[in-house]
Structures are given as structure tokens and as C-alpha cells.
């Protein structure tokens, strides 16, 4: 139902078309482009990506909150092919709610408090203990990636999946979902991962039927009125694709922000306001930078005509730097008077892992890591490369711990 004819629309009231911006620029340095777009063309169709970008905070939010007018169902992306399924992220209304609700009991406050947060705390201690002292260590592969993978494997109910497997699957799903060029290799790689993921999940089913627990897999298969097993698999894969790199990237981003602003770090150590430091990291570089929606009807945004079927990219990364809300939004500032960011999305698809991420990274990991390594130093921060258009974060975080 979504998808539109491009030809035949040339009237000025439609969004201006930008023919200069390309995906490579958006991957390397999106923020300078978004700053210009917010000022000059906050609703703009970028020809190279075939989508209309919304870069102002009020617009990104209004579109996501109006699910009746803006659908998540954009069939013209490689996501369905990559996931071998139509997933909850791309569904609307009751169908979306039914699949989402199947997984929500796992994320209940009671489970967070009694199971997942204590489990994370123990794991965080173990992973920190393992880090080598007195030599340069890259916290991306040594801490942030594997720890995010481990806690997720436990919560999802597939604890036998190794850190390496979880991260490899996750990256394959992401590369497949981002394979807009429809090249063969990413699809072949993700297909092989599906075989491995399915086998892993299926091997756990009899065990969890016999001895149910609060993991996502168990909750879904033991429900009174379970969703089809194909959607159980799809839900787990969305969580694998979307539950590792955001916690990983947000942790690395906050650490970078604090370590490059020692005066702020000192103040946060004094006040214990680690959650604020975490929120500011999420604002500064949103781990998921943009989310697509599809207009169900002809409509208008900021006086610009939007056609039925038009794909809108709500760029929360840009919303989080909007001059109307933030002064010097391009700078990390843990002492900023708090201002709401949109990094967890909004509306019915608001991130399911929000509370988990806030509790684990903001409340446990940040105080713990600075308590263990009070003199942690970044090594050559100017060499850290930031990368990504759909997902964004630093590609490495080399530090000296003592």
C-alpha cells in the first residue's frame, strides 16, 4: 500500500529536491548536513536516497506520534528480505501491539529489578575485571560489544549463544537490513545466520516449555494465546539486530564525551548524576539516527505538501541538535539543563529496551567503570572515527585504564 510514483509531480509546494547530498556524506558527517537542512530546508527530498528527510524536532516527533497518519509499513526496504519476515518494527495498529505485547512481560519493572539488573551488575563486574591493565585497550571489542551481547542473550532466553555469535548475527541483520543496493553477499551472510539462530532458538524450546522462565523466548512460547512461532523468531531477531549496537554505541559515546571533558567528568563524579551524563550522550549522537514512516494520505508538514505513499525519514539525530531546543547542540555537555531527546523514538514504537538501557548503562556501568578506573585516559581521541547513517557511533575507543 505504501510506495508512490515519482514522475508527474513537479509542483513547487512539494518538498524541494536536493541532488547534492549522498549516502557517503551522510555516513561520515551527517551533523553538518542536518544543521544546514534545519536552517534552509527542514523538509527536503534527498534524491540519492529517495526519501524525504525531516530534520526539525517538532516534525520528527509529530510524525512518529501520529501513527494513524504515518505508517511504519515501508515494504520497499531490504529489511523484510534480511529478516526473512515482516517484523513488528514495520507493522501498525493491533497487529503491531499483539506482537509487541507478546514480548513486554519480559521487560516488566519487576523482571528488570529482580532478574536483569542484578544479572547485568554481576556481568559488568566480571567483564571489567577481565580488562588488561597498563596497556592500551579498545573498549569497543573488549567491553561494550560483548557485554551488550551477553546480557541480551540471557534476557532473550538463548544464553548458550556466545558473545561472538550474538554480535556476528546482529551485524549480519543490520547489514542485510541496510542493504539498499540489494547486493548478494549481505543477504547470503544473513541467511546463513538465520539457520544458526533458528537452530539455537529451537533447541531451547523444549527446555523452556518444561521449565518456563521470564526470558523473552519463554514468555512468548508459553503465553496463553501465543503468537505464531515465525513471529516469535522475528521478534527475537529484531531484538538481536537492535539490542546490541545501541547499548554498545551509547556506552562508547558517553565515555568519549566524559573523557574529553574532564571538568564535566569531575562534576558528575561529585554529584553522581550518571544518568544525566548518559542521556546527554544519547542526545549528542543518537545510536539510531533516523526512522522511516510512510504517509498514508496526502498531508502537509511545515507547509510542504506530502503525497500519500511518500517515505519520510524522521531524523532524530538532527532533532536532538535542533537550535530551537538546544544551545551548542553539537557539543557534549553533561551539565546541560536537561532537555528531552528523541533517541528512543516516540509513539507506539517507542523503544522496548529504554528502561533496561537506562538502568544498566546509566545507573550501573558508568559509576562502576569510573570507580574501578578513576584515572582512565583516552588514547589519541582525535583518531577515533565516527561512522554511520542509520546507526552511528565511534568505531573504537582506545583507553589506558590506570
Amino acid at each position: 500500500m505504501c510506495g508512490m510514483a515519482w514522475e508527474g509531480y513537479a509542483t513547487m509546494a512539494f518538498a524541494p529536491i536536493d541532488e547534492t547530498i549522498n549516502i557517503d556524506q551522510l555516513t561520515r558527517d551527517p551533523y553538518s548536513i542536518y544543521r544546514r537542512l534545519r536552517a534552509e530546508a527542514p523538509v527536503v527530498t534527498v534524491k540519492s536516497i529517495g526519501r524525504t528527510l525531516l530534520t526539525k524536532a517538532a516534525d520528527t516527533r509529530a510524525v512518529k506520534d501520529n501513527a494513524a497518519l504515518f505508517s511504519n509499513n515501508d515494504p520497499n526496504t531490504p529489511m523484510q528480505r534480511a529478516f526473512q519476515a515482516h517484523t513488528l518494527m514495520r507493522k501498525d495498529g493491533e497487529e503491531h501491539m499483539r506482537e509487541r505485547m507478546a514480548m513486554t512481560p519480559t521487560f516488566s519493572p519487576a523482571n528488570l529489578k529482580t532478574l536483569w539488573i542484578p544479572a547485568y551488575e554481576k556481568l559488568a563486574g566480571e567483564y571489567l575485571d577481565r580488562l588488561p591493565r597498563d596497556e592500551v585497550v579498545d573498549l569497543f571489542p573488549a567491553l561494550a560489544g560483548p557485554l551488550a551481547a551477553r546480557i541480551l542473550a540471557i534476557i532473550l532466553g538463548i544464553p548458550d549463544a556466545t558473545d561472538e555469535e550474538m554480535q556476528y548475527w546482529s551485524q549480519a541483520l543490520i547489514d542485510g537490513a541496510g542493504n539498499f543496493g540489494y547486493a548478494d553477499e549481505p543477504f547470503a551472510r544473513v541467511d546463513a545466520c538465520h539457520a544458526a539462530m533458528n537452530a539455537m532458538v529451537e533447541s531451547r524450546v523444549p527446555l523452556l516449555k518444561a521449565e518456563p522462565d521470564q526470558s523473552a523466548l519463554s514468555v512468548m512460547i508459553n503465553a496463553e494465546d501465543p503468537i505464531p512461532f515465525s513471529q516469535v523468531l522475528a521478534n527475537l531477531k529484531i531484538a538481536i539486530g537492535g539490542g546490541i549496537n545501541e547499548p554498545r554505541d551509547s556506552l562508547l559515546t558517553v565515555l568519549f564525551g566524559l573523557l574529553t571533558n574532564p571538568d564535566q567528568l569531575d562534576e558528575i563524579k561529585r554529584t553522581g548524576n550518571w544518568s544525566t551524563a548518559f542521556e546527554e550522550g544519547l542526545r549528542w549522537v543518537a545510536p539510531i539516527q533516523a526512522s522511516s514512516r510512510c504517509a498514508r494520505e496526502d498531508t502537509q508538514i511545515r507547509g510542504v505538501d506530502i503525497r500519500k505513499g511518500e517515505i519520510l525519514m524522521t531524523v532524530q539525530a538532527s532533532a536532538n541538535h535542533d537550535e530551537e531546543l538546544f544551545e551548542d547542540g553539537h557539543l557534549y555537555n553533561a551539565l546541560r539543563p536537561k532537555s528531552p531527546h528523541q533517541s528512543f523514538g516516540s509513539g507506539p514504537h517507542h523503544c522496548m529496551g529504554t528502561h533496561l538501557a537506562r538502568a544498566t548503562i546509566g545507573k550501573i556501568m558508568l559509576p562502576m567503570i569510573f570507580e574501578r578506573f578513576p584515572d582512565m585516559q583516552l588514547v589519541e581521541p582525535e583518531k577515533v572515527v565516527w561512522w554511520g547513517f542509520g546507526f552511528r557511533g565511534p568505531l573504537s575507543l582506545p583507553v589506558k585504564l590506570n
Partner: protein, 107 residues
Amino acid sequence: MPKITFVSPEGGRTTVEASDGDSVMQTALANGVEGIVAECGGAMMCATCHCYVDEDWLARTGTASDEERSMLDFAASEVRPESRLSCQITVTGDLDGLTVHLPDAQI
């Protein structure tokens, strides 16, 4: 149009006009009332629209449903018997004059 008063943690009062059928959360956002974040836009997924209904009004607004109460467990500030998610309170003529108190923090 029904009027709704928001009381900040410091005691400041802001009275705004609401539209019938809007939620109290939407009324706050539409009028720029600070202290309601509403990250999920009213989908009962976030608990960042927490408020305390003034005791005089509890009988008319009602208390939180079970589902709402379990989401309230995520709230950043203390949850009390009069706690509600403001996205779950629909404004009607009956609620003209409603007063709600805002918590210290939503995140």
C-alpha cells in the same frame, strides 16, 4: 473549554485550556507546560508523563488501571496512590478545573 491546572514541584501553577477528548498529557504538551516529557506520545510505553492527581479530583479521574500501574513502576519519581500517567486521563467537561501536580523528574 475545560481548564486544567498544572502545579510544578516548586509550587508554580499554570492553568491552560484543554480540548475535549485530548489527554491531560496532550494538553500539557500543546501548551508548553514543562515537566511532562511523554516520550512515547501516549502509547503507555514510557512512564514519562507521570503526574499526581489532586486529591479533590481523584473521584472524577479515577485511579490507574492495572496495566497503567505496572507501567507506573518505571516512573522516575515516587509513585503514590494518586499517581497517574497523564496520557491515560481523557479530558471531558466533567474535569473542568482539574488540578494535577507534577513530579520532580520524569527520566
